[in-house]
């Protein structure tokens, strides 16, 4: 302090350690949990809430839970009975897809994972071609695998599809198909041609203005009326068309956001080089805009993935639909909560990892520019 004799030369005061009370665990707790009376109160309140909620949940889900067994009698009913999930696992994952054919779904999953890995390898050079394969080639292969009826594979009707498998089919197909429509709509909305612009705005705002459930109702009761006599679409396909148009409208807005972020100078420069409108878009604007909108697309996908659960209302059995269905099995009544917790866990894992990925991309975009 000031009355101490300085032990150092002018300007060479050594670095002192901060007062012990402000550093280390003690300092951290003081600064982050006890810095004021209000803070102390909040800390106590939060601690109490945690004490109230966490131990019972842990007790129920882990400590008292039944993990091993083959039927209902193995459930002690003291905590969660995960045997229930194990018992119905196949239905929850694949619906009523024939047991002997489930390998086809698993094979398609494996193919997707293997094909998608190189996209995340920075040094991989043929990302463009791989993406084209994933967006066009892969769906065709998957279609043949899932539907069967050729190459010696048994035909599996879509009403047998279900569970997580159906959730993935609807959401992935919905998003993949909505991307091109969304791009066209976004370009239309930004176009100088009043008629085109009006039609695109009308289309986008219509689908964005109504709830998905009315879209699904429409697909199940109104679409059949639109078709000429004798033409018939499978329920799943009708739902898919509805989902696709619905998400295309949202996709259009995401893409429009990306287009708006591209400076006007880019278009002008491309036009100055003599590129036509479509060449300008394809070669200059879209590649930049699409990169910008990937986080937005991922977010749209997360939304769609969660919204897929609504198809159970028109009688398609996605993951949640399957959980609801097995919950009504007379032998297994009263396991609702286990079913919901499991479904929530699966959805959460997908959505959380995707939202993390999109945040990561956003950060990369912000620093990369």
């Amino acid at each position: 302090m000031s009355d101490q004799k300085p032990t150092h030369k002018l300007g060479e005061h050594p670095d002192w350690a901060p007062p012990s009370i402000t550093i280390g665990a003690v300092g951290w707790v003081r600064a982050n949990m006890l810095s004021s009376p209000l803070n102390i109160f909040l800390t106590l309140l939060c601690g109490y809430l945690i004490y109230l909620s966490v131990p019972p949940v842990v007790q129920w889900a882990f400590l008292d839970a039944d993990w091993f067994g083959t039927n209902r009698d193995d459930c002690s009913r003291e905590g969660a009975c995960w045997i229930y999930i194990g018992f119905w696992f196949k239905q929850i994952m694949y619906g009523r897809y024939p047991d002997t054919e489930v390998w086809r779904i698993n094979f398609a999953y494996a193919l997707l994972v293997v094909a998608a890995i190189p996209l995340f390898v920075p040094s991989f050079r043929w990302k463009g071609w791989l993406s084209v394969f994933l967006l066009i080639g892969y769906p065709i292969i998957a279609f043949y695998l899932f539907v069967g009826g050729s190459f010696g594979m048994e035909h599996v009707e879509t009403p047998l599809w279900g569970g997580l498998f159906l959730t993935l089919v609807i959401s992935v197909l919905g998003i993949v198909a909505s991307l091109p429509i969304g791009i066209v709509l976004a370009l239309g909305r930004r176009s100088d041609m009043p008629v085109v612009k009006a039609i695109c705005i009308g289309f986008i705002e219509f689908w964005r203005g109504i709830p998905l459930i009315t879209v699904l109702f429409m697909s199940s009761v109104m679409f059949p009326l639109f078709l000429p006599e004798g033409m018939h679409f499978d329920k799943l396909i009708r739902a898919l068309i509805g989902v696709m148009l619905f998400s295309a409208a949202y996709m259009a807005e995401v893409v429009r956001g990306g287009l708006q972020a591209i400076p006007k100078g880019q278009t002008e420069a491309a036009e100055a080089l003599g590129l036509s409108y479509w060449k300008t878009m394809n070669l200059v604007i879209m590649p930049q805009a699409l990169k910008l909108v990937i986080p937005g697309i991922v977010n749209t996908f997360i939304g769609l993935f969660k919204d897929t659960t609504l198809v159970l209302i028109i009688g398609l059995f996605d993951l949640l639909g399957m959980i609801q269905l097995v919950g009504t099995n007379p032998d297994w009544l009263g396991f609702h909560i286990e079913g919901y917790v499991f479904a929530a866990f699966v959805f959460w894992c997908f959505c959380f990892s995707m939202s993390r990925y999109s945040q990561h991309l956003e950060k990369k975009l912000h620093t990369g520019h």
Binding site: S2, P6, L10, G11, H13, P18, P19, T22
Partner: protein, 261 residues
């Protein structure tokens, strides 16, 4: 750095013996990092102090401790006889008497210029709105932009915004003004208009502490220049001596760098 020609003070600027700010053995840490080391500084009423030093030396931190935008962990800071402690009443008391001008102006973008100026007098000094507006208009005239009163900060140039910021602080009728690099976000042609306002303020006897690298201002207006490095006050002298005959090697190095620009 090129020196901007500023109007020479026309009046004699007097320094009194009353102590305005007293910093005694002040230390501050950011986490483990020792930013301010044993700062001892006494500022008298009417003094104009310029603080300079390399980037990261703790200049901003030091003046921000004076109105407790930063908290110090050791030592005493006494402003006008009131010590800065955790006591909120003391902090409020001191902030009323100490004005501050920031590098990036920090005007309130959602309020008109006039409302920017009257906000504090109305809510802190409990001044009637009419009166607050009169005071504000007078000050806007002093900083030479009365015609902008109804506009919003976003509509003004940087130099005008900084003058509004100075006027906003003056509205509280402070006893000390702190400036943290008030001109370094400005284009050269705007620097002068801000410095002119500051010179006038000095002539009127305002106690000022100013972090700046405008050496022209330091030479003509300051009565003391302080050089900081690595969180310490290394040299402290009246301007002539400071510039022509620096004592410390680090000061010499700094001055040679800054003047050769």
């Amino acid at each position: 750095m090129s020196e901007i020609a500023i109007q020479a003070p026309t009046k004699e600027m007097t320094v009194t013996d009353d102590v305005m700010i007293n910093m005694i053995g002040v230390h501050k840490w950011y986490g483990e990092f020792h930013v301010l080391k044993d700062i001892n500084l006494t500022v008298h009423k009417g003094e104009r102090i310029v603080i300079c030093g390399p980037s990261g030396s703790g200049k901003s931190t030091m003046i921000r401790c004076i109105n407790r935008l930063e908290e110090h962990q050791q030592g005493q800071i006494i402003v006008e006889g009131t010590e800065l402690t955790g006591d909120l009443k003391h902090v409020e008391q001191i902030r009323k008497e100490v004005g501050m001008v920031f590098q990036h102006f920090n005007l309130f973008p959602h309020l008109s210029i006039l409302d920017n100026l009257t906000l504090a007098p109305i809510w802190v000094r409990k001044m009637p709105k009419k009166e607050a507006e009169e005071v504000a208009m007078n000050l806007l005239e002093r900083v030479k932009i009365p015609e902008q009163a109804k506009k919003y900060p976003g509509q003004l140039s940087g130099g005008q915004q900084q003058r509004v910021a100075i006027a906003r602080s003056l509205c509280m009728n402070p006893k000390v003004m702190l400036f943290d690099e008030p001109t370094s976000a400005l284009d050269p042609e705007m620097i002068k208009e801000v410095l002119d306002v500051m010179v006038e303020l000095a002539e009127e006897g305002m106690t000022m502490m100013c972090v700046t690298h405008e050496m022209g201002f330091a030479k003509t207006v300051a009565n003391r220049v302080i050089f900081m490095d690595e969180g310490q006050i290394i040299e402290e002298n009246e301007p002539n001596e400071f510039f022509n005959n620096p004592q410390n090697d680090r000061t010499k190095l700094f001055l040679s760098q800054i003047l050769s620009h």
